[in-house]
């Protein structure tokens, strides 16, 4: 398995190196000739990403979204609306335990009717995405390559197909179908290092410019009668304040945020506060969850996968790490190996 990966990686690197080699030989009088095209590549990738990001905000649609990963198929109905710079969304899980999630800008409310529970949460990580594209001088393009692959019809709309290929083995690739008029992502495949589909998600039904009413969604979002309301007080913190540091950074992954998350009393009674340290390379993200080591619950270090999402647990001193992300297991291992706590 490893040999196969290495040989493929070697092939891939050869393929990457070969045109450069030819270029440097044939264009030896002007060695910078390759640079403008790289800049152009980065620009086209950034433009494409920005368009995709804008589209995710400036849309009103109703659709059925289906996610297929590792032999499981899960689906949800989504209502999305954008009014005057404000976004609201309702996601109704159609598979498994009943669950509806409402989002209003950075506020998230999750209804779990089986447990008669409502969970209020606030987040800001989503907004960090454009900064990653804008500020960090082609950072995403340092690790991904854009390749356009024509058009296809998905959920009744014409879509452009683009391939985002990773430039190293630390992240997965993506094939993205974006609706032609406004750039909404209508289908997404996550590809492993060998190009196999790990996970795919697509709208099976989509109604663009749907008459979704913001006030109606907000009204539903506030209906919590007869439910227990849980409001985890997320405390923004820094990794160093919590004593955590990562001396050797993992290629392309930059820390985005760090939160202290109080234990949720319901499911895991013995748990105390945990720290969530989030990293992203702009497309994929990794969460490092750190909590006090509990001999009872943390009985075995393990690695698990759910489609593209991988999870690794590790006992580090008096702490227990759960690393989770849409990245290869090797990337999580690198995070786990590098992570240290100040005594």
């Amino acid at each position: 398995m490893f040999y196969k990966k290495f040989s493929l990686l070697a092939l891939y690197l050869c393929a990457l190196a070969a045109p450069d080699l030819v270029a440097s030989q044939t264009l030896s009088p002007n060695p910078t000739a390759a640079a403008p095209s790289a800049v152009q590549d980065a620009k086209s990738l950034n433009d494409w990403l920005r368009r995709m990001h804008e589209a995710s905000k400036n849309q009103a649609y109703i659709g059925t979204y289906v996610v297929s990963s590792g032999g499981q198929i899960q689906s949800a109905k989504i209502w999305h609306v954008c009014e005057g710079g404000q976004q609201a969304e309702r996601v109704e899980a159609l598979t498994g335990a009943a669950r509806s999630t409402f989002r209003h800008n950075e506020k998230t409310v999750t209804f779990l009717p089986d447990q008669k529970l409502v969970r209020h949460e606030k987040r800001e990580a989503l907004n960090s995405f454009p900064e990653i594209v804008q500020s960090a001088d082609h950072r995403i393009s340092d690790f991904y390559k854009l390749k356009l692959e024509g058009t296809e019809r998905i959920a009744g709309v014409e879509a452009d197909v683009a391939l985002l290929l990773p430039k190293d083995a630390m992240r997965f690739g993506y094939r993205v179908w974006t609706e032609q008029k406004k750039g909404l992502v209508v289908k997404l495949q996550t590809l492993d290092i060998d190009g196999r589909v790990l996970e795919q998600a697509a709208f099976s039904e989509l109604l663009m410019d749907a008459p979704v009413k913001m006030d109606k969604l907000l009204q539903m979002m506030g209906k919590v009668e007869g439910m227990r309301v849980e409001q985890p007080t997320l405390v923004k913190t820094t990794a160093s304040a919590e004593g955590w540091y990562l001396p050797a950074s993992v290629a392309g992954f930059k820390p985005i945020s760090c939160y202290k998350r109080p234990a949720v009393a319901s499911a895991s009674s013995a748990a105390d506060d945990s720290v969530q340290w989030v990293f992203s390379d702009g497309l994929a993200s990794v969460s490092l969850f750190l909590e006090s080591y509990d001999r009872q619950r943390h009985n075995k270090e393990s690695g698990m996968s759910m489609g593209a999402t991988h999870t690794l647990t590790r006992h580090i001193g008096n702490y227990w790490l759960t690393a989770m992300g849409e990245v290869p297991m090797a990337t999580l291992k690198q995070f786990a190996n590098g992570l240290a706590h100040k005594k």
């Binding site: 669950r99 690695g303 759910m306």
Partner: protein
């Protein structure tokens, strides 16, 4: 001699109602023999089996066996309280009303089996861990249920804590690309099929 040889056929004919009434008496005289009696029982059994869909109420089983069985049953000491004490130590009050206890017993038994089988499945799924160490820990951790179900991709792990972490990860770590799918999914993690992957 010829009578003896012909008798099973005659008996069969009598059984099937093909024998004439004038022959019945003569035929019945044959029923004296032990072999005839056994054959009669046998045909009756076959007939009942052919006519009925269940084996309940079959007559004509070996009388000696039935006798032995009922004798043994009457001597059997049935004491469910002992079994109950073994299955759920320390959790059972002294039974005063038998009917109430019987009801409780069945539920305890079901619960006992359910938790036992859950532990067994877990022990099987998390291969490589010493099951002797694992089982008591998992049995104690009944507040946070971990569900392991087999799937074509290997054992599937559903854990309340993992679900919480996944939700947290999807909320805090969501990029534009990952947003919708993060809210669609319930956690169902696959245990590794091979080490080192």
């Amino acid at each position: 001699m010829t009578q003896d040889c012909a008798s099973p056929e005659m008996l069969s004919a009598l059984f099937d109602g093909q024998s004439g009434s004038e022959k019945v008496l003569a035929d019945l005289q044959l029923a004296d023999s032990q072999a005839m009696h056994s054959d009669w029982n046998c045909y009756q059994l076959i007939g009942d089996a052919l006519r009925s869909t269940s084996s309940a109420g079959l007559v004509g089983a070996d009388p000696a066996f039935l006798h032995r069985l009922s004798a043994r049953l009457s001597h059997e000491v049935v004491n469910p309280v002992v079994t109950l004490a073994v299955l759920t130590p320390g959790s059972v009050a002294t039974p005063t009303a038998l009917a109430a206890n019987d009801h409780q017993f069945r539920w305890k038994l079901v619960a006992g089996f359910a938790s036992l089988s859950a532990v067994a499945v877990l022990a099987w799924a998390l291969a490589g861990a010493s099951s002797g160490v694992l089982a008591p820990q998992l049995a104690q951790d009944a507040t946070a249920p971990t569900l392991v179900t087999p799937s074509p991709e290997g054992p599937m792990i559903r854990d309340a804590r993992l679900q919480e972490l996944l939700t947290a990860h999807k909320q805090m770590g969501a990029t534009t690309l990952q947003v919708p799918s993060g809210f669609v999914r319930n956690a169902g993690f696959e245990a590794p099929r091979q080490a080192g992957r």
